[in-house]
């Protein structure tokens, strides 16, 4: 029998995914498709915020949405009423999406006629942060009822996102939610992050968010 020898490798397990994600991002850039990876805990208001965002930008961009909920297609049905192109991704019980799954999703969505695609990631703040999906922008929603101490509990997620949307601001007074404390905690983890307090219910703050997003998508397509 052959002798086994120990071979030193020292390679990140995430490296394969990171490489794949980089390729996907370059390809999307060439084709002028802006992919936003939207992450949050379950029930923070991703679908409601996506609906508001589509409403605000549907005259500027052709929009697609990929819903990655684990079991149901309820969200996909809701979003399809907005006029955006929607598909439900079947994630087979996984708790995160990687670049390969995202690429497969984009292929079945069909991106030739799209400018802006939202990936509603699986509701999980832990491992979605480790897997680059190939997106141009990583956005996280934190909702007021989850509490202002979330950045202390999930530092990885807050450190990696480009944008933090703080949703359900209409309920801030009922939850003793301290917006300034959240901002302070978040800026400490991530000095470059953009923070948008909104209420997807009342529409408060949505236009600041969508104006920023509109600019980012335009820049992506032009430069």
């Amino acid at each position: 029998m052959d002798e086994f020898k120990v071979i030193e490798i020292k390679k990140s397990i995430f490296e394969g995914n990171d490489r794949k994600a980089e390729e996907l991002r370059e390809d999307l850039k060439k084709r002028g498709v802006f992919l936003m990876n939207l992450m949050s805990s379950p029930g923070s208001g991703k679908t409601t915020t996506v609906m508001r965002t589509i409403e605000a930008l549907k005259d500027d961009f052709r929009i697609g949405v990929m819903e990655a909920d684990i079991d149901s297609d309820v969200d996909a049905k809701t979003v399809s009423t907005s006029g955006a192109k929607v598909i439900q991704l079947h994630t087979g019980g996984m708790c995160h999406l990687d670049a390969t799954m995202t690429e497969q999703g984009l292929t079945s969505l069909g991106t030739e006629d799209l400018d802006f695609v939202v990936l509603e990631n699986i509701g999980n703040l832990i491992c979605t942060a480790d897997f680059d999906t190939g997106s141009a922008m990583n956005t996280m929603i934190l909702s007021v009822p989850e509490g202002d101490d979330k950045p202390l509990k999930y530092p990885n997620m807050f450190a990696m996102v480009d944008v933090l949307i703080i949703n359900k601001m209409d309920a801030a007074e009922f939850f003793d939610f301290d917006l300034e404390a959240v901002k302070e905690r978040v800026f400490k983890l991530n000095p470059d992050i953009k923070v948008f307090p909104v209420s997807a219910k009342t529409g408060e703050g949505i236009s600041e968010w969508t104006m920023y997003l509109k600019n980012e998508v335009k820049n992506w397509k032009e430069i």
């Binding site: 052959d2 002798e3 086994f4 020898k5 120990v6 071979i7 030193e8 490798i9 020292k10 390679k11 990140s12 397990i13 995430f14 490296e15 394969g16 995914n17 019980g93 996984m94 708790c95 995160h96 990687d98 832990i126 491992c127 942060a129 480790d130 990885n156």
Partner: protein, 113 residues
């Protein structure tokens, strides 16, 4: 399931290495997992046999080294364990640090031929 997806990533990385280095049989895989990564070693051990069943890695042994989540205090330079000290520097009492280690998730080495 998080760990199942992760094992698929591990298998992919190992299979790449086998191809690159012309290896045919792997006996052991050694991983390094940081305390602050999202990977939980005991779950990984649990789902590993099922995940590699029927693949080229079916009979491999999985070994996991845990790397401590350490930080260096920006005020006084002390290096300490973030989890044990609840992130606060034990020598000067502030919560202001740079991460030194703990987010790794590496394939350290394999035993193969």
């Amino acid at each position: 399931m998080h760990e199942l997806g992760i094992v698929m990533n591990i298998a992919g990385t190992v299979l790449d290495v086998m191809k690159e280095q012309n290896l045919t049989t792997v006996q052991k895989i050694v991983l390094q997992v940081g305390e602050l990564s999202s990977v939980i070693p005991s779950y990984l051990h649990e789902c590993y046999p099922a995940a590699v069943d029927g693949t080229e890695l079916a009979d491999t042994v999985l070994e996991i080294e845990v790397i401590p989540g350490n930080a260096r205090c920006k005020e006084c330079g002390e290096v300490y364990n973030l989890l044990k000290q609840k992130r606060i520097c034990p020598s000067c009492g502030v919560d202001n640090w740079d991460l030194v280690s703990g987010k790794e998730f590496n394939l350290k080495e394999i035993a193969a031929c």
